[in-house]
């Protein structure tokens, strides 16, 4: 120790020990802050059993979709029927048929040439994914408005299941998740969201206890005061290959899972001793019910965007007379973000989406319901583009910055920051582009993946 002041050395040793302790503490804090931050983002479960991130705030009314007295029940025209009518009006009789024949010929050519994303296996993968959805009809079979096979409590010799509304909501939500729901919420029935007609029959509300489908009308009992709104996540691995047959497979799979989920949930509810009507795209508008059930917010796409899956979901619902606690709409800063972002509108090859800074009451055509505020889309242009690819497109869904697989923590950090600091929205849009998100993934690579695919993407 010669040459070194011993007292200084001892003091230095003491400091070193202190620093070591401090360093250890700092390390522990840093290590602990990560799960703490994750827990903060993870959020808590509210009274009706819904678990959301803390940055998804419950609000009294939807952030977009303000309605006027002009808002009324939608005709319920099928988009394909509407398109056929418009096409005939604009391009003459037989125009749609000629367009579809050209499309079929073009698709066959792509299959013969093995064009990536449109090869025979790609196309048939999509056809397979659509199987369940294409084999159902509203009010019939799997989507029957009365029980399919379940035994009622009467038949089992027990009383029907009763519980407080909060507990009932929790029970139904857990069951819905098991059957495939990515997000589920409860909304009150709103007759103005129910279509006027379905398959050339009027949809009416009557003071009856059992729903009925007759040759002339379909009857929804007024006792059905609750709607279980459900979002089925689409497979992001497939959707990121849009607009190809692979991208269309994500849509078909989402719809087929929707049919399975609502059919199963309706049977579960009937088995508890109540009435239930399963519905995918039929019977009523899914988006306003999903908004009121707090599943997401209305976006620039004029579609629902969820905090967890973005717009990459398919919506479906079950109407029931089972009393449940309702959820409230949510606000996670989406409308502000949509004002600045516009990535979906820029990505849309047909120019169908609005570039307006502000949403308005001005609709773009008969496919839009009047009397509510939105960024309205030109569905005719959108549908025209569908004729250029396989069944559907999906680029807008894939390009939205909220469409992210939930694997990277950074996505939650970005979404949480955007929800509380709209000033960062422009920056996040720039970074989303810089990091290459929303670009089409190579269709051929999908078949080479050795990981199991599932609906979660």
């Amino acid at each position: 120790m010669q040459g070194v002041n011993r007292s200084n050395y001892v003091e230095s040793e003491g400091k070193r020990t202190g620093r070591r302790a401090l360093l250890t503490a700092a390390g522990l804090i840093a290590a602990g802050s990560v799960p703490a931050a994750v827990a903060l983002l993870e959020g808590t479960t509210n009274g009706s059993g819904r678990k959301r991130a803390r940055w998804v705030k419950d609000v009294d009314r939807p952030t977009l979709g303000e309605k006027t007295a002009e808002f009324k029940r939608f005709s319920g025209s099928n988009i394909f029927e509407l398109h056929k009518q418009l096409k005939t009006e604009r391009d003459g009789v037989g125009a749609l048929e000629a367009e579809q024949a050209a499309k079929a010929k073009r698709l066959a050519g792509w299959m013969r040439q093995s064009k990536p994303g449109f090869r025979l296996p790609d196309h048939q993968l999509s056809e397979g994914a659509w199987t369940l959805m294409k084999s159902i009809k509203p009010g019939e079979g799997l989507l029957s408005w009365t029980r399919v096979a379940v035994s009622t409590p009467d038949e089992l010799g027990v009383a029907r299941h009763t519980a407080p509304p909060e507990e009932m909501a929790q029970t139904v939500k857990v069951a819905a998740r098991l059957y495939g729901a990515g997000l589920v919420g409860i909304a009150p029935m709103n007759e103005s969201y129910v279509n006027l007609r379905q398959a050339r029959r009027d949809i009416v509300f009557e003071d009856v206890t059992v729903p009925a489908v007759t040759d002339t009308k379909v009857v929804i009992p007024r006792t059905m005061k609750w709607v279980v709104a459900i979002a089925i996540p689409m497979d992001l691995d497939l959707l990121s290959r849009a607009p190809t047959s692979l991208g269309d497979a994500a849509t078909g799979l989402g719809y087929s899972h929707s049919a399975f989920t609502v059919a199963s949930l309706a049977e579960f509810i009937r088995g508890l001793g109540y009435q239930a009507i399963p519905s995918v795209n039929d019977t009523a508008l899914s988006v306003p019910f999903a908004i009121e059930a707090g599943i997401g917010e209305l976006s620039r796409l004029n579609r629902l965007v969820t905090p967890e899956f973005g717009p990459a979901v398919r919506l479906c619902k079950v109407f029931t007379d089972l009393p449940m606690a309702c959820d409230t709409p949510v606000d996670f800063g989406l409308v502000q973000f949509c004002r600045k972002c516009k990535k979906c509108a820029e990505s849309c090859p047909s120019g169908a989406l609005s570039f307006d800074d502000e949403p308005s009451f001005k609709t773009k055509g008969p496919w839009n319901n009047t009397g509510h505020k939105a960024w309205f889309e030109d569905s005719y242009l959108c549908f025209q583009h569908w004729q250029q690819v396989d069944n559907g497109c999906g680029i807008c869904l894939a390009s939205c910055p909220y469409t992210k697989a939930a694997r990277a923590w950074i996505h939650d950090v970005v979404k949480a920051t955007a929800s509380v600091a709209p000033v960062t929205d422009g920056l996040f849009r720039v970074l989303d582009d810089a990091f290459g998100y929303g670009r089409q993934h190579d269709p051929e690579q999908w078949w080479a993946k050795d990981t199991p695919h599932g609906v979660r993407g």
Partner: protein, 75 residues
């Protein structure tokens, strides 16, 4: 031995509070970006993964340089 019996005094200055603040932030950022890089590969977002790994390397270099610089000024 002309210096025999003389005393040499070395004072090691305590690291300032802001050093630990920056170190904590740096560690947190590194963990976040490494996780993003790994997750991006699994999400097949290869451009995002490449940019994240670059950010990890740059941040690590800044950390090492910062420690060296701060270490020299302590004695």
């Amino acid at each position: 031995m002309p210096n025999s019996g003389s005393t040499v005094s070395i004072t090691i200055r305590k690291r300032p509070w802001w050093f630990w603040t920056f170190a904590g932030l740096w560690a947190l950022l590194e963990v976040l970006i490494v996780q993003t890089a790994v997750a991006s590969v699994r999400e097949s977002e290869y451009r995002a993964a490449a940019m994240s790994w670059t950010a990890v390397a740059v941040l690590a270099a800044i950390g090492v340089l910062g420690c060296l610089f701060q270490g020299r000024s302590r004695v």
